[in-house]
């Protein structure tokens, strides 16, 4: 059976997806570095993970190899676990100091 290649794989080079994912990743890294609100830092980390997901799916589709997409499952499961723990830590801190600005956390040098 001759299987059909999706249009996008025939027209758009893989490099475009790699560059898109890299730019998305760098936006996430910058977010981690410049923001002070712990929740937004955390969202920037989620952006980085999503850039990785896009990269894996792009590689996986262009080669028609399923293992890259399986890895994305694992990343999603891990992201969910991390979010649970991370938000619990943030709530715990908020109870004690009524703020989650990491700049206020200066008992230890940040």
């Amino acid at each position: 059976m001759q299987s059909k290649i999706p249009d996008i794989i025939q027209t758009v080079p893989l490099l475009n997806y790699v560059l898109l994912a890299s730019i998305l990743f760098i936006i996430g890294v910058v977010g981690v570095l410049i923001r002070r609100n712990a929740i937004i830092i955390f969202m920037s980390i989620e952006l980085m993970l999503n850039a990785v997901n896009l990269l894996l799916i792009a590689f996986s589709s262009y080669r028609a190899d399923a293992s890259g997409q399986v890895f994305v499952f694992f990343i999603m499961a891990v992201a969910a676990a991390e979010v649970a723990v991370g938000l619990a830590i943030i709530v715990m801190i908020y109870r004690n100091i009524r703020s989650i600005d990491v700049g206020l956390l200066d008992k230890l040098k940040w």
Partner: protein
């Protein structure tokens, strides 16, 4: 292979043991479970193989590393007697999470597939985030947990980007398959950009986790803020597992492109050695000093990775064991001494708290002295041979100036490792005598005996490989 299965099941059993009225059974049960895992681990000795569709590799190197991890875990958990079960309402959860984190650590020693590495790293890290924040009313602990969490997840993101790029180069997550592709690329002079980007990001992510400079900036704060017992756990088990992973991935997959990554690793080695040793000199807090010392030991262990000789795996096992034993006794002494003295509601952890320890409790002072000597690498202790082996690995590749830096920095290390010993033996005593339970004494005795034994007969361990 077996310890992963054993610890996964016993962890769940421990969670259920929490329903019992008496919490006294938890600690002996956990110690029994870890012992069980230790012997289950040795069961595979000399029976190398790949398991579960090439997900996990077992060979003597992974068994020895897992044994080091489980032994350290046993000693640390034994030291929790009187710490966890008194302070917290839910000790069962702590013991269960400790056992689960060991599953992650053992996965990191024997992974054959990058998915296993990723999940192992995550199980270990998520457990550590929780344990760091376990003292909920302590603001420093909270802050340390948040910092560790944000930096740890950031590192995971970087590591994943590297793994994705490697997938783009190899189209497989298997590390043996990666080696085949890399060897092919080297022989045909046809290199893939994805491969180089991937190796760089994967290495940076892993080095973040083992806190090698310049990615160590979170280490002192997190180590200082976390409850001491979990700091011990972080500085021994996380480090051993992390270096096992770094060494394994570089040795199995990327030794054909040694010329690409050695410059990067050597720069990080030198930075770790210099920054940590110079900063540690001016620290007033014993715990913070040990945190910087752990960064410097990461530097020494990276020397074995840079060396990548046929003896490097032995050196990593020996160094991790020597370092873990000494660190556990140092933190054990700190916990015993600082328990009584509270400053602002938390234990006093400055070096001054050790003043006159030789009068107050000669046994503890002796333990402290041996562990400091071992960390400094004085002959007749395990630390000396550990340093000797990693130095000879670096010499194997002819990195002579790296050796010079390392020896100079060891000399700086001797200066600050002697500060606690001087405090313990020369300063006036200001506190009352410290009493210890016999059990605590036995555990500290074992770690110190191990340091001395390996210092006198290093071949006991070396001949196993």
């Amino acid at each position: 292979m077996y310890p992963i299965l054993v610890l996964s099941i016993t962890g769940i059993i421990t969670l259920f043991l929490g329903f019992l009225k008496s919490k006294k059974v938890l600690l002996p049960a956990t110690l029994f479970f870890v012992t069980l895992a230790f012997f289950a681990n040795l069961y595979d000795w000399n029976k190398p193989g790949l398991y579960f569709n090439n997900m996990l590799q077992v060979n003597n190197f992974t068994i020895l590393l897992s044994a080091v991890i489980l032994l350290s875990a046993f000693l640390i958990i034994a030291l929790t007697k009187g710490f966890i079960d008194d302070e917290h309402a839910q000790p069962a959860e702590y013991f269960a999470i400790l056992q689960f984190s060991l599953v992650g650590a053992i996965m990191m020693t024997g992974f054959q597939n990058l998915i296993m590495l990723f999940i192992g790293v995550e199980i270990l890290s998520v457990s550590m985030y929780v344990l760091t924040g376990s003292d909920k009313r302590n603001l420093r602990g909270n802050e340390a947990a948040l910092k560790y969490f944000l930096m740890g997840s950031f590192a995971t993101g970087i590591m994943l980007f590297g793994i994705a790029m490697l997938y783009g180069a190899n189209y497989s997550f298997n590390i043996d398959a990666a080696r085949t592709v890399v060897t092919q690329m080297v022989s045909t002079q046809h290199s893939s950009v994805y491969l180089y980007v991937g190796v760089t990001f994967l290495l940076i992510g892993l080095l973040f986790k083992v806190s090698a400079a310049p990615f160590h900036f979170w280490t002192p704060d997190v180590y200082e803020g976390a409850p001491t017992i979990f700091t011990t756990f972080m500085s021994t088990i996380v480090k051993t597992a992390g270096f096992a992973a770094i060494y394994r991935i570089l040795e199995v997959s990327f030794s054909p492109i040694y010329s690409f990554w050695w410059v990067m690793v050597i720069i990080m080695t030198v930075l770790s050695l210099i920054i940590s040793n110079v900063t540690a000199v001016s620290q007033g807090s014993f715990k913070r000093m040990l945190a910087f010392s752990s960064v410097s030991h990461a530097g020494y262990m990276l020397m074995a990775v840079v060396g990548l000789s046929n003896k490097s795996d032995d050196s990593i096992v020996f160094y991790s064991l020597a370092y873990s034993l000494a660190t556990i006794s140092a933190f054990g002494v700190l916990m015993a001494v600082s328990k009584e003295k509270l400053v602002d509601g938390r234990p006093d952890e400055s070096i001054a708290v050790l003043n006159g320890l030789s009068k107050r409790n000669p046994f503890l002072a002796f333990i402290l002295a041996i562990s400091m000597l071992s960390l400094a690498g004085i002959p007749l202790t395990a630390g000396f041979w550990g340093k000797f082996y990693v130095f000879s690995d670096a010499a194997f590749r002819g990195h002579i100036w790296l050796l010079v830096v390392a020896i100079l920095m060891s000399a700086v290390g001797i200066y600050y490792y002697f500060k606690p010993i001087i405090a313990a033996y020369m300063r006036e005593s200001e506190g009352e005598a410290i009493s210890l339970t016999p059990f605590y004494k036995i555990i500290l005795g074992i770690t110190t005996f191990g340091s001395i034994l390996l210092g006198l007969f290093p071949d006991l361990l070396r001949s196993l490989m």
